[in-house]
């Protein structure tokens, strides 16, 4: 639960969105999640969970939902 809260907070602060927008949220579906915003998101998640993501995972991180799946690889269960 704590991880979910952290995960959501990162999305909210990186993209200036609220929780009602998480469902169906994908890369470039909001203006702030562009390529620059994506790198900011990754940096914030790496900081929040003290991990370092592989380049392939950064590229595959295409949605709010997909991110939860990818973070499992780094022992972050949401």
């Amino acid at each position: 639960m704590a991880n979910l809260k952290k995960y959501n907070e990162v999305f909210k602060s990186c993209f200036q969105i609220d929780e009602t927008q998480f469902e169906g949220l994908t890369y470039q579906s909001v203006e702030s999640w562009d390529s620059v915003g994506h790198m900011g998101l990754i940096a914030a998640l790496e900081d929040a969970f003290d991990i370092m993501m592989d380049t392939d995972d950064i590229i595959d991180f295409s949605s709010y939902k997909k991110g939860i799946e990818i973070l499992k690889k780094y022992d972050v269960n949401i």
Binding site: A43, D47, M52, T55
Partner: protein, 251 residues
């Protein structure tokens, strides 16, 4: 050797430190206060480097043995540096290979081998280093290119292409990373006295020296001193530059 505190407490990763330019840069950085993670591929090959340092500074060299082409090991080293120091102030991409071939003799295998070490590994290292540098809002990346990457040289079409790629990567990275206060510069050495010149006979060497305005082959310290400047805060407003160290050579 110039000694100062120009790099006091700075944490640096340098690849290809077992000999030549990389070894000299590592020594120079440690003598100027840095904590150096010194990379080489072969286990034990950094002993000569540590042996040349005063006892009081030996602990400032941390040998890290890995092949720069192994991206998992590259990542592990960056994770380790993050764990140890929570920062990385400077990355020197020095590791590289040189193989010559005339047009008509350049195989795909040769191209791939050169590009993997001289270009792809540099990209991996830069990408992982930037993760730490962006958090601290500062950093200096120094890529070792070559004069043949900016001017070309007969017999080195594949090698020069890799060093040319370093030039363009350096310029683009500097533009992308300037807003994070991460500087990216390249050094383009000319003819430098390293093992690579060991097999050249005196007659050929005299011919080379004739083409150098300053009348001598470059020393590894000529390159290391520039790297010291680029790693230090003295160059805090310099980025995207390709600086030659070649004593006015005619090519």
């Amino acid at each position: 050797m110039l000694t100062s505190n120009l790099l006091a407490e700075k944490v640096v990763l340098i690849t290809g430190c077992n000999r030549g330019i990389g070894k000299e840069i590592a020594k120079t950085f440690v003598m100027n206060g840095a904590i150096v993670y010194a990379n080489a591929r072969k286990d034990g090959s950094l002993e000569e480097l540590t042996g040349e340092l005063p006892d009081s500074l030996k602990t400032n060299i941390i040998p890290v043995y890995f092949d720069v082409n192994d991206v998992d090991l590259v990542k592990q080293v960056i994770v380790r540096i993050n764990k140890d120091h929570k920062r990385l102030d400077c990355l020197v991409n020095n590791a590289g290979i040189m193989k010559d071939a005339l047009i008509g003799m350049v195989t795909r295998k040769l191209m791939l081998e050169l590009f993997e070490t001289n270009v792809f590994a540099v990209m991996d290292l830069m990408q992982y280093a930037v993760k730490l540098m962006s958090k601290q809002g500062a950093g200096s990346i120094i890529n070792i290119s070559s004069i043949v990457g900016t001017r070309g040289n007969a017999g080195q079409i594949a090698y020069s292409a890799t060093k040319g790629a370093i030039v363009s990567m350096t310029k683009t990275a500097s533009k992308e990373l300037a807003k994070m206060n991460i500087r990216v510069n390249a050094i383009a050495p000319g003819v430098i006295q390293t093992d690579l010149l060991a097999d050249i006979d005196k007659h050929k060497m005299d011919q080379i020296i004739c083409k150098i305005g300053m009348g001598r082959i470059g020393k590894t310290s000529d390159v290391a001193n520039l790297a010291l400047f680029l790693a230090s805060d003295l160059s805090e407003y310099i980025t995207g530059q390709i600086i030659s160290v070649e004593g006015s050579i005619l090519m």
